[in-house]
């Protein structure tokens, strides 16, 4: 076909945003040539229907009950089979953990180079790729010498958008010839990273506590507030040093850097090491007993007072508002 194959991830029948960005990059690569998609496992057929408006002409859905749980080598075999069948000029996937892992497997199977985190593709033979390196500090221009280009799209760097007047793609199901070795590594269980089920790095609201919370038990009122706000609970370094919370909860230079819409800092003095982790917040509310605390210089709003009174009061008010 000499078109482009794009690996599409989906969950409960909906295509992932990052995969739509990969489709957009694949369109760029295809430059008018046919665009085929690969969707793995159940729900693939439903998700495929959405791809027409993004320029996909054929959707191949790999079906096998053993594909219910993610297995990188098994996915790579699906890609591998389609490459044999379709002979595309490039395979594109999302710059997600899965996309990068599967294409790395494909690269290894076919002894091909693989360019991750691509933002755009230019003219020339071989074409010039622009890709993100060094954790975002560097944009690299590179030429990829390969009979078949394996690319992933850098997350949030390629705009995904529908194309006009496209019909739903043809859906073709196939059963890949999986071998037991392909299923040695697979997802066995999903565990939520935080008690509230919201991951710290992605939460829209973070309720964070510092030394002022006083103890591990003191975080109970913060967790209640977080549950009301569908927020993640974070903390400062002194809290993890004291053993009140696990290190995975730490916000700061030596922990997670967060960028929520709202960051609620309870009893946190605001050491630079902590500010470095939450300065990406759009709005910050500080609740602190000390009117001189450095955090107040970074906060948009502040309540000076005892957090053991203020935090439950906010939780109660939210509950009341909900019930009304």
């Amino acid at each position: 076909m000499a078109g482009v194959l794009v690996l599409v991830e989906h969950a409960s029948g909906a295509v992932d945003d990052l995969s739509l960005q990969a489709v957009a990059l694949a369109r760029q690569v295809a430059a008018g040539a046919p665009l085929a998609a690969l969707l793995v496992s159940e729900g693939g057929r439903d998700a495929a229907a959405q791809l027409g408006s993004h320029g996909v002409t054929t959707a191949h859905v790999a079906e096998d009950e053993r594909l219910a749980a993610f297995a990188p080598a098994a996915w790579a075999r699906c890609v591998d089979e389609l490459i044999d069948r379709l002979d595309p000029s490039a395979v594109v996937a999302a710059g997600s953990n899965r996309g990068n892992e599967v294409l790395a497997h494909v690269g290894a199977r076919r002894d091909l180079p693989f360019a991750a985190n691509v933002t755009s593709i230019g003219a020339g033979e071989p074409p010039t790729l622009t890709r993100v390196r060094w954790g975002g500090s560097l944009l690299e221009e590179a030429r990829l010498h390969a009979p078949l280009a394996l690319l992933t799209a850098a997350p949030h760097m390629v705009a995904a958008g529908p194309v006009n007047g496209a019909a739903p793609p043809d859906v073709e199901a196939f059963a890949p010839a999986l071998e037991p070795a392909d299923l040695v590594v697979q997802v066995s269980e999903h565990v939520d990273a935080t008690a509230t089920g919201v991951s710290l790095a992605e939460a829209k609201v973070v309720v964070s506590g510092g030394r002022g919370v006083g103890s591990a038990e003191g975080f109970g009122i913060l967790e209640e507030l977080a549950a009301q706000l569908h927020a993640a609970v974070g903390c400062s370094r002194v809290v993890t040093s004291a053993g009140w919370r696990p290190h995975t909860d730490q916000v700061g230079q030596t922990g997670t850097k967060v960028s929520p819409d709202l960051y609620i800092a309870c009893g946190i003095s605001g050491a630079t090491q902590h500010i470095a982790g939450c300065k990406g917040a759009k709005k910050m509310l500080a609740i602190n007993a000390d009117a001189e605390a450095p955090i107040l210089n970074s906060a948009d709003y502040a309540v000076i007072g005892d957090l053991t009174e203020i935090v439950p009061a906010i939780t109660a008010e939210l509950r009341r508002a909900r019930e009304r």
């Binding site: 002194v238 230079q253 050491a271 630079t272 090491q273 470095a276």
Partner: protein, 626 residues
């Protein structure tokens, strides 16, 4: 040592001779602990004096009637021998007392049996010497006036002048010689090797400021290029000599902030581990060029130990034989970071932020001078004439809310005294100190070159820094990258201004205890100026560990950006400060400010942590009622 990588320890001969005189002959560093120092000095000086008796004994062992020409028949020398032999014996008794009765914790992990054997040998050597002399006096074989030897003469009363004494005289002399020979044979296999290496190790010890790290050269010939130390052949010859010189005395371990707060690192065990590895791999490497030496980390040194170090240099300060522990540790880190990319993951954002944003917290460079705006501090723009003094603010005082107060205070004081100064603002970049102490020499050098270029282009000649780490890097390390400036710490400049009468504080600040920053007091000898300032604003109270023997706050060696394992160093120091009963804990470093303030809060102490410059501002702003 033949395998060792080059390091230049020539030059500075007068300084080296002075070190030899004071540290070796004068036992200066041993006397940092008076009791054990006196013990060691008695044995050491004893053996220096008794040295000729070894020759005399060997001669007399062969020919009963012979001795060294001239010296052998001098009465005064016989007196010296008696006196020093007794001193050595007293020294041995004291040493046994220390080891068996007092049992200080510093010997934990040392080879105790070895030490016992050596002490027994020393006692044997000296006892047989005295008995031999006594028996010669009894037999009338002595070449000197017996009255010169009070001890031997008194002991001679134990012997008659018959055949038994003649036999005993032979027994004593041969026992004496045999113990000496066994001692010499045992020496290379024991910690006592230091008597052969220590004098050289002291001579070749560092002569420059303690805070300067030897730069790695990435542009030299390949065979000389080092990326720190991964295996035995990566060590410099001095590092190998360090390993041979260790006596396992544990003074380093005793003062180490990491060891004292329950972490894995003991500087002593680290050097012992390297020594064992040198003995294991060295001979094989010399025999077989293809021998693959094992990695120093973790085979000789546990990986956790390497990262526990705060580079405070207390161990180096304490070591009587001039071992340079911090250089070893930094070289191990350099290898781990630059070759293996293996380091505590939580420090990664710091390295990335230093690289990308030129400050370790990833703040925007454009915000660097925000604190100075309301004070009207001049920001030196490109092309403008350089001020008399450039104020190097440093990242911490530019961005950290608590440390900023020190920058504001310093600027206010310089303004009040009418000093012509300016700051670089957004053109000031991280000096690279945390990256360098983490072992990322590339990143440090990139920053050094950039900053030196900025400073040289601006025509800066004099710099005042309020951060001891910047102060150390600018003053001691940028010289290696083409940057030579007169660099002073803000406490030095402020003390000058007070002495000149340009600032006139009054002593009403209550009782103040001053915490010496490692990079000021120990690494750069800045001790009296901050104390003068403290005395000018309040009533000074000293902590037990102060001056050159200060105890770290816990932030050094890039620990500001690492998670602490074990007990908290800052709380240990906060405890010591609070126990002085002082109202105020004065500091002169932004990192000490943050660490100790945290330590005080964690413990719930009342003592107020504040920079010396802020105390000075308060004293000037609120003069006491007349």
């Amino acid at each position: 040592m033949r395998l060792g990588k080059p390091v230049d320890r020539s030059g500075d001969v007068p300084q080296r001779a002075r070190n030899e005189a004071t540290i070796v002959l004068g036992q200066r560093k041993l006397f940092q602990r008076f009791g054990p120092g006196l013990m060691h000095a008695a044995i050491f000086w004893g053996f220096v004096v008794l040295f000729p008796t070894i020759l005399m004994a060997m001669i007399a062992a062969v020919d009963r009637e012979a001795t060294l020409p001239w010296l052998g028949s001098q009465g005064w020398f016989a007196l010296l021998v008696d006196v020093f032999a007794v001193l050595v014996l007293l020294g041995v008794v004291a040493a046994v007392g220390i080891r068996k009765v007092q049992r200080p914790a510093r010997f934990e992990g040392s080879h105790l049996g070895e030490a016992d054997l050596i002490l027994a040998m020393i006692a044997g050597i000296v006892t047989t010497l005295l008995l031999w002399h006594a028996s010669r006096i009894a037999l009338g074989l002595h070449e000197w006036e017996a009255g010169w030897s009070p001890v031997s003469n008194a002991l001679s009363g134990l012997f008659g002048d018959g055949t038994l004494t003649e036999v005993l005289e032979r027994v004593f002399i041969w026992a004496h010689v045999l113990i000496i020979l066994s001692f010499l044979a045992y020496l290379p296999h024991s910690k006592h090797l230091h008597i052969a290496t220590a004098a050289f190790n002291v001579y070749f010890g560092r002569t420059g400021p303690g805070g300067r790290l030897e730069p790695l050269r990435f542009d030299g010939p390949e065979e000389e290029m080092r990326f720190g130390a991964g295996t035995v052949p990566d060590l410099t010859w001095k590092q190998t000599m360090d390993a041979f010189s260790c006596t396992e005395c544990g003074r380093c371990q005793d003062v180490c902030p990491a060891w004292n707060t329950g972490k894995d690192l003991s500087p002593k065990l680290l050097i012992m581990g390297i020594r064992d590895q040198v003995f294991a791999d060295g001979p094989k490497l010399l025999r077989d060029v293809d021998f693959d030496p094992s990695p120093l980390v973790p085979d000789a040194v546990p990986e956790t130990s390497v990262w526990d170090c705060v580079t405070c240099g207390a161990c180096v300060q304490e070591c009587p034989v001039s071992i340079e522990h911090v250089d070893h540790i930094v070289d191990l880190r350099r290898h781990l970071v630059m070759v293996e990319s293996r380091f505590p993951s939580e420090a990664e954002p710091m390295l990335r932020d230093v690289e990308r944003a030129s400050n370790p917290w990833g703040r925007a460079q454009t915000e660097r001078a925000d604190w100075a705006e309301k004070l009207g501090v001049r920001v030196l723009e490109p092309g403008e004439p350089a001020p008399e003094v450039l104020y190097w603010v440093g990242c911490a005082a530019s961005f950290d809310e608590r440390a900023k107060t020190a920058a504001e205070s310093t600027a206010k004081l310089l303004q009040a005294a009418g000093v012509d100064f300016a700051i670089l603002g957004p053109r000031e970049g991280c000096t690279g100190d945390p990256a360098r102490r983490m072992g990322n020499e590339y990143l440090f050098q990139a920053h050094a070159e950039q900053n030196v270029a900025t400073l040289n282009e601006a025509g800066v000649t004099k710099i005042v820094a309020s951060c001891p780490h910047c102060f150390n890097t600018l003053g001691n390390e940028y010289g290696d990258f083409g940057g030579s400036y007169e660099v002073v710490h803000h406490t030095e400049l402020l003390a000058d201004l007070v002495r000149e009468g340009r600032l006139q504080p009054t002593a009403d600040g209550g009782s103040i205890t001053y915490h010496d920053s490692c990079y000021l007091a120990r690494h750069n000898d800045v001790r009296s100026d901050p104390r003068e300032l403290v005395a000018a604003v309040g009533e000074p109270v000293e902590m037990a560990r102060s001056g050159k023997r200060t105890f770290c706050c816990g932030a050094g060696g890039a620990h500001m950006w690492m998670e602490e394992r074990g007990g908290a160093i800052n709380e240990e120091r906060a405890r010591e400060a609070s126990e002085t009963g002082a109202d105020t804990l004065a500091v002169a470093c932004p990192f000490c400010t943050v660490m100790l303030d945290d330590g005080v809060r964690a413990r719930g102490d009342e003592i107020r942590v504040v920079d010396v410059s802020t105390l000075l501002v308060e004293s000037l702003e609120d003069p006491p009622p007349a």
